[in-house]
């Protein structure tokens, strides 16, 4: 589970933006002992902004992305660190910030 907290007044496009040019929120995990087999994003909000004629599919405030993993065949028992990247692009009601890609990591314990 990846908790995210957006600065008040800002939004990020959801994982399924309502316009082809908008940059989706995307979480990816690098190859490792665990393989991501699915992601659960929250239900996006359809928000109307002054700059847009149509509501946009966005996330705001606090939210979480859940990843479902499965252990790979060669996953050794014991502690492991999963690394990945979160790509997002944020805007407020009048301006947008450039897209960013953040490194994320997750400590897990793999047990037999």
């Amino acid at each position: 589970m990846l908790p995210l907290d957006l600065r008040p007044g800002y939004h990020v496009n959801s994982n399924k933006p309502s316009d082809e040019y908008l940059i989706p929120l995307r979480l990816t995990w690098n190859p490792g002992p665990l393989e991501a087999v699915g992601f659960v994003f929250p239900q996006p909000r359809m928000e109307k902004y002054s700059f847009s004629e149509k509501p946009l599919s966005v996330f705001t405030g606090d939210f979480q992305i859940v990843t479902h993993f499965k252990a790979t065949a060669n996953a050794a028992p014991g502690p492991a660190t999963l690394t990945g990247k979160l790509r997002y692009q944020a805007c407020n009601n009048s301006m947008c910030l450039p897209p960013k890609t953040l490194d994320v990591s997750l400590q897990v314990e793999i047990a037999k």
């Binding site: 589970m1 407020n92 947008c96 047990a111």
Partner: protein
């Protein structure tokens, strides 16, 4: 089958997004007095046809330099205004130059320009140009230049169409080559003074 324990790990992952942004509404707007205007940095960028665009080539025109991107909703809102300005004021010596900050360049920008029927020149920006204009951190960011290539105003974020329009009209209506005019006036005044002095009786 291995089991995965991730309990208590998630809290360390809490990310605060958009935490390094500028305030949403920086003071922008009114035209600077001529004496306070700084020369805009020159740039040479290529347009969609591969032609080099030098900002200095636009000296003598009022120019709106707009930093934008295809993924920027507020930027999209301004585009119809700029299309209108380009049509309406082009013959009076006005031009819009759109500098795209899209990472993937023409791959995104070319179809966007076509679908939005953009009638002004578009170029792909660079980190260097962004730095030259004072680190463009948020989009849209626009600069309105007077006929001498000086920055008469800047706008960060979406502003009212009428603000742009008022500025453009004022700059277009300003006497051409005002810097040279002022300099010429000074020289003329100096000469006048000299001639008066020369004509004075010892």
């Amino acid at each position: 089958m291995s089991r995965i324990h991730v309990a208590a790990a998630s809290a360390a992952l809490a990310l605060i997004l958009a935490s390094c942004s500028r305030p949403s509404n920086l003071p922008t707007g009114e035209l600077k007095a001529e004496a306070q205007r700084k020369q805009a940095p020159n740039f040479t960028l290529k347009d969609a046809d591969g032609n080099a665009v030098n900002l200095t080539d636009y000296r003598g025109k009022v120019v709106l330099v707009n930093f934008w991107a295809t993924w920027c909703g507020p930027c999209e809102a301004e585009i119809p205004w700029f299309i209108e300005f380009e049509k309406k004021y082009k013959d009076q010596g006005f031009a819009v130059l759109g500098v795209s900050m899209d990472d993937d360049g023409w791959k995104s920008v070319r179809p966007y320009v076509a679908s939005h029927k953009i009638n002004y020149r578009i170029m792909i920006g660079s980190e260097l140009v962004s730095q030259q204009f004072g680190e463009i951190e948020s989009l849209p960011t626009s600069f309105v230049l007077d006929r001498e290539g000086r920055i008469a105003s800047n706008h960060i974020g979406l502003v009212d169409k009428v603000d742009y329009q008022n500025e453009i009209v004022k700059l277009l209506e300003a006497p051409k080559n005002s810097a040279m005019r002022d300099a010429g006036t000074g020289v003329l005044a100096g000469l006048t003074g000299a001639s008066v002095r020369a004509g004075q009786r010892p």
